[in-house]
Symmetry: C2
Subunit: 224 residues, 2 copies
């Protein structure tokens, strides 16, 4: 089983490292980080990731995966990245993303008419892209599997493991990862957090979300 | 605020990348990956991490952090790593770990007489090391903060963020990370998982746990 995880500058590293931890524990499975070149890729909080292969040298993927993060702004406009996804998607068993990675899949036309999800801040943006947006933590529609924001990648990874192998294999990985979460606060979704916390986060991301909306509208105009 | 995260070959990457994602989102905070040399460090499932500084060039840490993983077997015996922890611990505000990182802290004598926790498979090993072992997901005793296995690092990171800054700051990070976990299975602790799943995991790790127990007994004999 070959799992190809696409990386690009300013990705959110936990979107990727959460499911990587699940996939890395599966037998008969090889995980590749795939990028434009073999140079280290810096995440939006500074962590450096080293690619295993480039868009040109990557093997055919059974599972194609795209993380999210600030870098999706450039990733959605990268002809080489979008074309890599479109080519690999033809033969992939599963086409997947976590967080705003689904905006990149959608920009490549790979979620047209599919149910999918994304980070709660970007649900409205995904709706612009011909996607049937579902507000759930992990959404499975035929061979498309998408996760919500950042930490949803761990739940997502376990769903993918159960699809690829079995529930028992996924449960063994969950137990080894001691995934019995106990968040210290009840603030993990805009429905649960205090209004002032939600407002502060929405405010701090307003400019980025607006830029993304404008980019999506530009991409849609180009297509038509 | 300087957060120094020690890395070593065969660490479990999510022990580190979970809390890194929390710390990387805090203002006025610089996160460093510190290793023996500046060469990339390979995690136990293949992810390569690039150090920011060495044990010799690292700045003084406000928060000292140790992850776990298979590599703790060598880390517990590394004179340079143990001596780095002991030196930095003298002035650190918080001395912390996730997963079996607490065995490394304990081998450095930094948990003597403290309450602490570790991955569920290694609770008995931590008890050998003069530690008051508590079976909780995150344990805070004075300035020692320790997390349980792998994914406990996210809960741990949020506790540390609230200690360093405030509950509101930690909640904002939790909301941005959409940390509203929904595991697909109820198998994240040996108390919850089916007996056959627990047995399989315990069996698969038996040799490693035995090696660790022998190493700890050897280290204790040396100290006396």
């Amino acid at each position: 089983m070959t799992i190809s995880m696409v990386i690009f500058p300013n990705l959110t590293q936990l979107d990727l490292t959460g499911p990587y931890e699940v996939f890395g524990r599966l037998s008969h499975t090889k995980v590749f980080l795939i990028a434009e070149s073999l140079e280290p890729v810096k995440s939006d909080n500074g962590l450096l990731l080293i690619p295993d292969a480039t868009f040109e040298t990557a093997p055919p993927a059974d599972v194609l995966f795209v993380p999210g993060g600030r870098g999706i702004f450039d990733a959605m406009q990268s002809k080489t990245l979008i074309s890599f996804l479109q080519t690999q998607a033809k033969n992939a068993k599963y086409i997947t993303s976590v967080c705003t990675g689904s905006l990149v899949l959608a920009a490549a036309g790979l979620l047209d008419g599919y149910k999918a999800t994304t980070h709660w801040l970007s649900l409205d943006l995904l709706k612009l892209l011909n996607v049937d947006v579902v507000e759930e933590r992990v959404v499975i529609d035929r061979n498309r599997i998408t996760g919500g924001g950042v930490t949803a990648g761990i739940d997502f990874g376990l769903y993918v493991a159960s699809k690829l192998f079995s529930d028992d294999i996924a449960k063994e990985v969950q137990l080894m990862m001691e995934y019995n979460p106990a968040p210290p606060f009840n603030a993990g979704s805009p429905k649960l957090a205090d209004e002032k916390i939600v407002e502060r986060v929405v405010h701090s991301r307003k400019a980025i979300q607006q830029q993304r909306a404008e980019l999506i509208k530009k991409l849609l105009r180009k297509q038509n």
